[in-house]
């Protein structure tokens, strides 16, 4: 009887402790995320409610001069800077990532794939400060030699970022390609296609939703990356005049000024608004992923 009782208790523990923990975890993450969004939104709109800044000035003016008289808080430079550096990185990374994914799935010998996969995983694991550091010590001097100027530039940011997002896009694209049923390949062979024709006209189009997800995820990562970009892009408060020109991004101005401004000042509020803009753009990317991503099988 006594034994039965403990057994039942154990079963109760097993059944409910684990379950309770799982439920709490689920709600906790929802709660944390929602709280953070609310907090950021409340902080972000203070620029307009408390400090009297205008939304259109903030989004459309390229005049950022919080120390000036009168202070100006136009964030256009940072929004454009973030867009350019992320899209530029995507332009380099996406084609290479797709080629790599094809290579891994259809061309490379098995032993090479088993080398390539851990290499890509390693690439993801390298901290962004290391990417930034390498950028400053190797890439920036190299660009200075080639293009003159200081070397700190939009191009430096693009190159560093493209390295960082390459593995993300590659692994998602590779998974998408691997999920295309073999029958598609066999069918196109049956119709007399060459291997490349089968890959380029059947497999890749069949996997395009998954590939697009990888690309948007890469873009989202590029957009939110702060440290590595800040280290190489120069952080000059101006719209870039070319690839070799320095500029600033939303994340770089945030990391530089956040710690040095005081809560409640218009400057600090304006930075919160930049953070909110960053979040909204990330939401936009997530929405895009939801739209283009592979539909669940019905």
């Amino acid at each position: 009887m006594q034994q039965m009782h403990t057994k039942r208790r154990n079963r109760w523990l097993e059944e409910y402790i684990g379950r309770t923990f799982a439920v709490i975890s689920g709600w906790l993450i929802v709660l944390i995320t929602v709280t953070m969004i609310i907090f950021l939104a409340v902080k972000g709109i203070q620029s307009f409610t408390d400090s009297g800044l205008s939304l259109s000035d903030m989004l459309l003016s390229a005049q950022w001069d919080p120390n000036g008289t009168p202070p100006k808080y136009g964030a256009l430079i940072f929004i454009v800077g973030s867009m350019l550096v992320s899209l530029g990185a995507l332009l380099i990374s996406a084609p290479i990532a797709l080629a790599l994914a094809i290579f891994m799935n259809f061309i490379a010998p098995k032993w090479f794939v088993s080398l390539l996969k851990p290499v890509l995983e390693l690439l993801v694991g390298i901290p962004s400060v290391v990417y930034g550091w390498l950028g400053v010590t190797i890439l920036v001097p190299l660009l200075r030699e080639w293009f003159g100027g200081s070397g700190f530039s939009l191009l430096a940011g693009i190159i560093v970022l493209s390295m960082m997002i390459l593995p993300t896009i590659t692994s998602i694209a590779a998974d998408a390609l691997a999920n295309v049923p073999m029958a598609y390949m066999e069918a196109s062979y049956g119709l007399g296609s060459t291997r490349w024709q089968a890959i380029s006209r059947v497999i890749v189009p069949a996997a395009k939703a998954g590939i697009a997800t990888g690309v948007v995820l890469g873009l989202a990562r590029a957009f939110g990356e702060a440290l590595a970009v800040q280290m190489v892009i120069g952080n000059t408060i101006k719209l870039p005049s070319g690839l070799d020109s320095p500029t600033a991004t939303l994340t770089s101005v945030l990391t530089m000024d956040m710690a040095n401004t005081i809560n409640g000042t218009p400057w600090n509020n304006a930075l919160w608004t930049l953070a909110l803009i960053l979040l909204l753009i990330s939401f936009f990317f997530i929405a895009v992923i939801r739209l283009v991503g592979p539909r669940k099988e019905r």
Partner: protein, 296 residues
């Protein structure tokens, strides 16, 4: 513990004796007595500091020395920037906020500022630094203003070699930048659309030494020891020495502040006094700051 105090006391006596021998009898004896009197007291509690990264190394060193002296006191020092320092102390999250500028200059809300008390704990000198390839050893204040406002773009215009000037700034919110604007630019606008911006003394140092023709400004505490590929430039013929600062020949310096909220607790008070003290002054100097004892 006890024996340590005895030793310290003996050392103080010995010092006083030696110094007395130098002929400055009255002053140093007084100092020695004061030191001995202070050792009688003991403090306990915890003190948290946060803020200015320029002051952080000194605050850490002072915390270690103070905790060695009063083992019952526990002190933690964090960075975060001058803004963080003022924020945290105003919110009551730390006992001392470290800042490069007085609290009132950071806060817009003046009623909040009146609760906060600024304590000057050290002076810090800044230097105009250039890459080693720049053949200029002296700049006038006017020339520096013209360089950072974008009027002068080539080193040959200020007597150097024919080489483009690459300006490196600190972000507009930085305390070092604020001091630079106040003491050197004096109302002339820094042109943020030229050159590049680096967000810390360390990053500036790295960028200066690797970029030909580069010019920027860093705290002297970052220039202790041998620095490769960068050199300091005299301002209006004056080097950044304590002597020149005291005689107002060298303008580019400021106080560092420890800010408390309202009336400071006894151990906080004692710690701030310790940072300013004659006893700690040699360390202050060694770390590239200017002790308050030499500024008053």
């Amino acid at each position: 513990m006890w024996s340590k105090r005895v030793k310290l006391g003996l050392a103080a006596l010995l010092m006083a004796g030696v110094l007395a021998g130098c002929g400055q009898t009255e002053k140093n004896n007084a100092g020695g007595n004061e030191g001995a009197a202070k050792k009688e007291e003991t403090y306990s509690g915890t003190i948290a500091l946060a803020g200015s990264t320029a002051l952080q190394p000194l605050a850490e060193e002072a915390a270690n020395a103070f905790m060695e002296k009063y083992p019952d006191v526990s002190i933690t020092v964090q960075g975060g920037g001058s803004g963080t320092g003022v924020n945290q102390v105003a919110a009551g999250a730390v006992q001392i906020g470290n800042s490069d500028v007085p609290a009132a200059e950071k806060l817009d809300d003046k009623s909040k500022a009146s609760e906060l008390v600024d304590h000057k704990v050290a002076g810090i000198a800044f230097a105009i630094v250039v890459n080693n390839d720049v053949k200029v050893d002296n700049l006038t204040t006017k020339q520096i203003q013209d360089i950072f406002s974008g009027k002068i773009k080539n080193w040959k215009e200020v007597g150097g070699n024919d080489e483009a000037i690459h300006v490196i700034n600190r972000p507009a919110s930085s305390g070092t930048r604020a001091t630079f604007e106040k003491t050197i630019m004096k109302g002339v606008k820094v042109d943020d659309s030229i050159g590049t911006v680096q967000d810390s003394n360390g990053a500036v140092e790295q960028a200066i030494s690797s970029t030909p023709g580069a010019v920027s400004y860093v705290a002297m505490s970052y220039l202790i020891g041998e620095k490769k590929n960068l050199k300091t430039v005299k301002i209006d013929g004056a080097e950044p020495t304590v002597e020149n600062i005291r005689t107002e020949k060298y303008p580019f310096w400021s106080y560092e502040y420890m800010i408390t909220k309202g009336e400071a607790k006894e151990e906080v008070r004692a710690f701030i006094d310790f940072v300013k003290s004659e006893e700690f002054a040699p360390t202050v100097k060694k770390m590239g700051y200017i002790p308050m004892t030499e500024l008053e």
